[in-house]
Amino acid sequence: MRIYALAVYLFLYIPIGIIALFSFNAGKHASQFTGFSVQWYGKALGNPFVTEAFQTSLTVALSSAVLASLFGTMAALALQSVKGKLRVAFDALIYIAVMVPGIVIGIATLIALVTVFDWLNPMLAALWPVADAAPQLSLGYGSLIAAHGLFSMALVIIIVRARVSGMDRSLIEASADLGATPWGTFRQVTLPQIFPGILAGFLLAFTFSFDDFIIAFFVAGSQTTLPIYVFSSIRRGVTPEINAIGSMVLAVSLILLITAQSILQRGRKA
């Protein structure tokens, strides 16, 4: 039994380990390790396409995670006191947002936004005070953030709501009885209790957006995120430079995930 478990863990981690190992390979091939070198990291970090894609990914992940955490937490708190049809509708939306495959979300967002933009752009041009200077709506940062924010928000609502429902409600009543204002109660009683949930939700949302390929592939417009760059480089052939980029991406998500997990676990015990 133990040996079996060990074998599964090896299956899960050896491929990741090999990616990391061969990112330090001096030679080019996966079948032989010809010496230690960090040249591929230098090459990856010196590649302007990589740094630009990294910046795009970082901007999108940060913005979508911040917005999702804020609006998701607000919704999770408000949903406590909502019952009836509105509650059912929200639950259904959260469920659909999580369950509909990313690829369907991606194409649906693409065609909906392109259609809406095609319709709005002429109106915008006609209404704009300065002739021929009207901004053109197009796919890019905005659509990436909005599309990633959707899944992230559903995620934050699920996680924060679990914390909210596990919260000791008598503390809130006690705080109100002792004369605290609703805002004071929120800041001093509710927020400290749900904060681990918000933080974990934020980290997961960031990781999701930073790693997402399929939704970004459709809605990125002229922007290139890091996963899109990696995908198109892999199509041109396997190189140790991709291993170096991959190792860095994995390292970023591993650090964030372990942080999120330990926050959630500590929250469960407390």
Partner: protein, 284 residues
């Protein structure tokens, strides 16, 4: 001070608007477009026709691959995941259990792109085949085969299968197992008569989650199937980004969602009968 009712509405507004603009509206557009026609230069022309749905047969190969490899992949995941979940929930040292569980879940949240790339690297010409060749074991072709796609699927989705099964096994009252063995059952009989039936809810949840996500998979077949083993997801990418046939693409997407809905509903029915209610599981 604001009345609580208005405050609730105000708090729900941003999320509600976001869900409407980025989820409800796009899905309605896909539904409407699926009855339309392709424009001369691609895109969409309004129309009301069922031609796109009648034409679904032309993408039968993609549906067939998906409907074969998704259940097979789910089943292989289950076979590998169950013993591990059993070990974690019942046999593992309580001190290490949390860490071991985190180690299973973490890969699921790391980039599936990089993890699939790892298998291109391992199964590609310079990886395992070259190693096997050097050992004199022949030079099998591994990459761009259904086998490679299956390996990628199992690698990608194993964590998602382990977690719900673990949850249901962990909740199981361990005294039942003792009672069963005290009453003279062999370990095998205890397993098949007590443990397995009581973990069926977790098994069903895990299978459903993995199956749903596999139905919409694009990356794994694109990277490890090399255009030979393609899923509905790959057909969708082709229709929307290459041939720009939005109307037909929408119909394919609708068909995909419909197949998923039917499967999920059927699954839920069966699960209810097995276990009297679905295990509420979280993905973390």
């Amino acid at each position: 001070m604001m009345r609580p009712r208005y405050r609730t509405a105000l708090f729900l507004l941003p999320a509600g608007a976001w869900f409407f603009a980025m989820l409800v509206l796009p899905l309605v557009v896909v539904f409407v477009f699926s009855f339309g026609e392709r424009g001369p230069a691609g895109g969409y022309v309004p129309a009301f026709t069922f031609d796109n749905f009648l034409n679904l047969g032309s993408r039968w190969a993609a549906f067939k691959n998906t409907l074969v490899l998704a259940p097979v992949g789910t089943f292989v995941c289950l076979l590998i995941a169950y013993p591990l979940a059993y070990f974690l929930a019942i046999r593992a040292n309580a001190k290490w259990r949390t860490l071991l569980l985190i180690l299973v879940i973490v890969p699921f949240w790391t980039s599936i792109l990089i993890r699939s790339y790892a298998w291109i690297f391992l199964l590609g010409g310079q990886g395992l085949p070259a190693l096997l060749n050097a050992l004199g074991l022949g030079n099998p072709r591994l990459i761009n085969t259904p086998f490679a796609v299956l390996v990628g699927i199992v690698y990608g989705y194993l964590p998602l299968m382990v977690f719900p099964i673990y949850v249901s096994l962990e909740r199981l009252d361990k005294r039942l197992l003792e009672a069963s063995s005290d009453l003279g059952c062999t370990p095998a009989r205890t397993f098949f008569n007590v443990t397995l039936p009581m973990s069926m809810a977790g098994v069903a949840t895990g299978c459903m989650l993995v199956f749903i996500l596999l139905m919409g998979e694009f990356l794994i077949p694109a990277m490890l199937g090399g255009g030979k083993v393609f899923f509905v997801g790959n057909a969708l990418v082709d229709l929307f980004l290459q041939s720009r046939n939005w109307a037909f693409g929408s119909a394919v997407a609708m068909a995909l969602v419909l197949v998923m809905l039917i499967t999920v509903t059927a699954y839920m029915r069966v699960t209810r009968r097995w276990a009297g209610g679905r295990d509420d599981i979280s993905l973390m």
